[in-house]
Symmetry: C2
Subunit: 240 residues, 2 copies
Amino acid sequence: MKWFYVYNDGTGGSQPPEAAGGRREELMRASEKAYTTLRSDIVDWRLPPGTVLAEVELSARLGVSRTPVREALARLSAEGLAEPQSGRGTVVSGISLDHVDELFELRSALECRAAELAANKRDPEVFLELHRQLGDAGRLITDADPARHDYYRLAGELDTAIDTAAGNHYLAQALKGLRVHLVRVRRLSKDNPARLRDAAREHADIALAIANGNAVVASAATTVHLDNSLRRLLAGRAAP
Amino acid sequence: MKWFYVYNDGTGGSQPPEAAGGRREELMRASEKAYTTLRSDIVDWRLPPGTVLAEVELSARLGVSRTPVREALARLSAEGLAEPQSGRGTVVSGISLDHVDELFELRSALECRAAELAANKRDPEVFLELHRQLGDAGRLITDADPARHDYYRLAGELDTAIDTAAGNHYLAQALKGLRVHLVRVRRLSKDNPARLRDAAREHADIALAIANGNAVVASAATTVHLDNSLRRLLAGRAAP
DNA sequence: ATAAAGGGTTGTGTATACAGAAAGCTTGCC
DNA sequence: GGCAAGCTTTCTGTATACACAACCCTTTAT
């Protein structure tokens, strides 16, 4: 007997699977859809901290039943993007510049170690190429791209390359969980082209140190970059 | 009108709440009960890696319905103690001595940083007391306590004191998530009194460095301790 | 004999019904 | 008028029904 994918008619039944993480919304499981929607809503500040995440309201808004909504809320709570309220309900977790220093302390511990491990791998090709591209990044940061997509994409590629070179599953997992919060924090402050150009130069330094196989310098460059990033962040705090 | 706590009669209804984390099993929510039961079963190796966690079977064994079982499985997956199977189901996640070095690499990054932060707090009282107790720990490690409960309790107190002194919520959270896996790994190998006495001395060194406010030494002592711990672990691998 | 097709069995994904439990509102008493 | 007790509303926690999907076993054709 053959099975056919049918759309949910609202009277029970499920969506086609398409391996967790598929792109098309109609092809995603309902719980996956609820999770990704809520997650991006929180990260992009469409749901600001303190927002009450009521199951019935969400299930109506997202067009799924409460069961997948509950699963999504559980995953968000585990990630730290939401927090179970004392008595009743779940709220979007708070994040403020008052605690960003703690976040950066953890980030520093993880990224410095990752940079050291990557440097010790002695695999310069990827990082030399990234060093070259980051040296040219000043040209990417123009008024034509206000969201700085190109720059952030390049920075993300460096992160990925370091994670891969470090070759540590647990470390990569910890960093992945941390970066969600960092994206969220970034929206708290305004950047400007000059600062991003500085950041690109610091990234280029990190890539070069890793390419040279110098773990001490790679760690130090990461420390310097993160300290500068934190101060840029605090200096550029957006108006409340 | 007054409400009374009633036990579940199996036809719907819920358990009394008693704030997540209550002790008495009958007072726990069903999802909490399923979670804590499964978690300790996995950590204590009663459910070895690869065990299939089937929802229907678990709901029958734990005496709750599938909904709280699903919530428990979601939390376990988020912690890394279980993994969603490709097509269908969830299995207890694998852990082997082949990847313990990666686990210790992450642990080292986090604990070294935590020790540095604690040392910089300059609050010697607690750590001087722990240093004293750890110096006497040799007497705790006797054949009268084969499970070494007293020693592990003391080591746990040092961890807690460092977390508290470091004063970083994100770092403490990351360490908490990591220690679950470390407990699980510990069961993979056999310890012996001489090795534990060495470990106690290393812990005493860490406590002293923190009490002295010397961040460099605190980090170095942590590095040394973790390197020794990893080698003790690999040397004492239990028979398969 | 082997491989493919078909049907059964079992298990997950989702929706929904129902039973507490908490917040808000109303009402009556002082 | 204020406060407390009861009622109402609404929300979460849990159980369960059902649809789809995967595995497995049988059957059949080559």
